[in-house]
Symmetry: C2
């Protein structure tokens, strides 16, 4: 297969589809998504059969149990995919929304109106549900999308994509609105990262390997979704019970999501007052605590190595360190964090304000679990992920964050003096 | 000079300054800008002397009269620069503004708060005032800036930059908040375009050569400010007097700005009804009209060549063409426009809506002059230019558009179920 030629064709088709989609009606887009959801449910056996092929391939490749779990579909997970697509269908259409409107002294009436971005490239790894989630969010926001799933989920993604195509067809939307790259060849990723002519923004969803490739090769703008190296800082003025509750939730509710806590920073003042109770809670919950010298005194902990700080475990493991107050916590997070989500536990407003002011993570939390880092929990609907960059999209990226805007200006023969 | 080493040092200094600036007080920033304005006025003789050196260099290089005019400073223009810096000082500080705030059913209180982007690179050409304008807007928005002016304006930019530094110093702000690249070597531009580690966004202000270089070499995200190939479409349902007034203003008020009209599209229905009056108006005003076959029948016009369409003249020249209705106008603008500003003259709401809906320029106007494409005229304050890209900033780019945001989330020991 001539990857370059294939990717050029896909790019041109996406551009043409984007022009049609930009002016597609809200009804057609929602209708197509509901029809796609119907098709996914009806074709669930074919999707599961495709997924079985991927699982075989994954076993042969020797994927880790965690990777195999991400790859695996069953009827419950397919129901989740269907519900997700329907939820996006039911959201309001962001395109055409008047974001602001005002009148100037000249008499000009100015509106800022939401528009699609154009063509979005999504590069992801093994989770087959991203095919449906990303396809649905891009369609909702009037963008054409080029999806490039991981080689492990190739058959599952292809089967789900076929259902999305049915939805598009049933409602007269361009078939190239949602395209899936039809090859496992890694060269297709490089081609996407360089396709400035055809792709307006790339959303990479994946681990270190993908992030590194993107940083090295991307010419197309990127909404970076880096790792979630989330910190929980327990201040000397924290409430003990809130701290215990929030920390356990932040680490253990689900360990595989990007909002799970990966590092505990405890103020020495808290430690002096309450001892190692937080560390013991974690150990009792089955968490491996990799601590600095002070923390490693507690039975059952492990001495932390240097690279345990700034590490995304996505597992029942946490790095831990005693710090001298909020400023050392801030310095640690600046050094080791990934600008995703970081939390402070404190009853002291001044300390909380300092944490909020001095840090620049996409999401900062006070007395709340980092596991709330989620578009749905923010009331923003379904999301494609949490953006850790600073341009355009930041934090939860849902349909609204996948839009741009234009100014519509109306006069009455108005001229500039 | 080792350009790579110099640019690395500048980049590191900018990052350090950005961290300080992000938490600088509104008072310090405004104070520094007012002090800089004072210094520019006090040092005006030194600035004019520096400008004289640049003008000598420009003559030697054989710059065009238009280029020499852009380069030239006099006391009036320096007063304009001073007023511009003071106006930015007087604007509200965007940093820290609560853009949105809401409470979720979980009890979480969420705020979306404006933050600086970080480090901005501005690459521009001969206008010395950009040094002050861009420096002021970046400082206002809490960003460190690396300025790279054109080689022609090197001495003027250096003299103005020295005044900005005085302002920073007088108010205790980091001296590296506003840095000017201290070399005319073109390699510095390439280094900036690739400095992903040190620069968060590049704003290129210049002609085709710069735009081409940026498109070819940029690894850092770019707020593109392409040419303003602005179209005026006069529909069959246009009011004759409004059309005459707006068209003349759009073309002739100032020809050298990006919002000046470069192409007239006249609906055949208008032409049949009113004849060539618009073309005669333009000729009477001293405009060279380069028309298609229909328009070139008018005495005094010139036959258009193919490349007159889609050309930014920035002069008393306009391309002109008769089209069959709004759809042909839309197709022409999609083909030849630069997504900057395009206008329709019509009294027909349906036709105007079609123009607004089908086109995707940053600014679309109805019955108003394209010369209003300006941050001040939009009520948005001083601007660095009109962005023609679709990500983050679009249309007038002022201090607000140079910001990002973060989410501040407050709970009360709140955990996710």
């Amino acid at each position: 297969m001539d990857i370059s030629a294939v990717m050029n064709t896909i790019g041109k088709q996406a551009r043409a589809a984007a022009r049609e989609l930009a002016v597609a009606s809200s009804e057609a887009k929602a209708g197509a998504l509901n029809a796609a959801a119907d098709a996914i449910w009806e074709k669930r056996e074919a999707i599961l059969a495709a997924n079985a092929k991927d699982l075989d391939y994954g076993s042969e490749k020797g994927l880790s149990p965690a990777m195999m779990d991400r790859l695996m579909l069953d009827e419950t997970r397919i129901q989740g995919i269907v519900d997700g697509v329907r939820a996006v269908a039911a959201q309001p259409d962001p395109v055409g929304e008047v974001i602001e409107a005002w009148t100037q002294p000249t008499g000009l009436h100015i509106q800022r109106v939401r528009t699609p971005i154009g063509v979005i490239g999504v590069i992801y790894e093994s989770r087959p549900n991203v095919t449906a989630d990303a396809g649905a969010l891009c369609l909702k926001s009037g963008n054409a999308v080029i999806l490039r799933g991981g080689s492990e989920s190739f058959h599952s993604a292809t089967a789900i994509h076929a259902c999305l195509m049915e939805g598009l067809k049933a409602h007269g939307l361009p078939e190239h609105a949602i395209q899936l790259v039809p090859t496992r060849d890694r060269a297709a990723v490089t081609a996407m990262l360089q396709a400035v002519e055809y792709i307006d923004v790339i959303i990479p969803r994946g681990g270190k390997g993908l992030v590194g490739l993107v940083q090295k090769e991307a010419r197309v703008p990127v909404f970076a979704h880096l790792e979630g190296i989330c910190h929980v800082y327990v201040d000397g003025a924290a409430d003990l019970e809130k701290a215990r509750r929030v920390l356990l939730n932040a680490k253990t509710r689900r360990t595989g999501i990007c909002g799970s806590a990966e590092c505990l920073l405890v103020d020495r003042a808290f430690y002096d007052k309450h001892g190692d109770i937080l560390v013991r809670d974690l150990i009792d919950a089955g968490v491996e605590v990799r601590g600095d010298a002070a923390i490693a005194k507690t039975r059952g902990t492990v001495a932390a190595k240097a690279d345990d700080y700034g590490h995304e475990f996505l597992d029942m493991i946490i790095a831990a360190k005693v710090v001298d107050g909020v400023d050392e916590a801030i310095a640690h997070i600046r050094n080791y964090g990934s600008n995703h989500t970081d939390a402070i536990l404190t009853e002291d407003d001044a300390v909380a304000n300092r944490f909020f002011h001095q840090l620049d993570s996409a999401i900062l939390m006070r007395n709340a679990s980092t596991q709330f880092a989620d578009g749905g929990e923010f009331g923003m609907g379904a999301e494609i992920g949490i953006a850790t960059g600073k341009l355009h999209a930041r934090g939860p990226v849902g349909a609204v964050q996948l839009t741009s805007f234009k100014y519509l200006v109306t006069g009455d023969g108005t001229i500039r003096s």
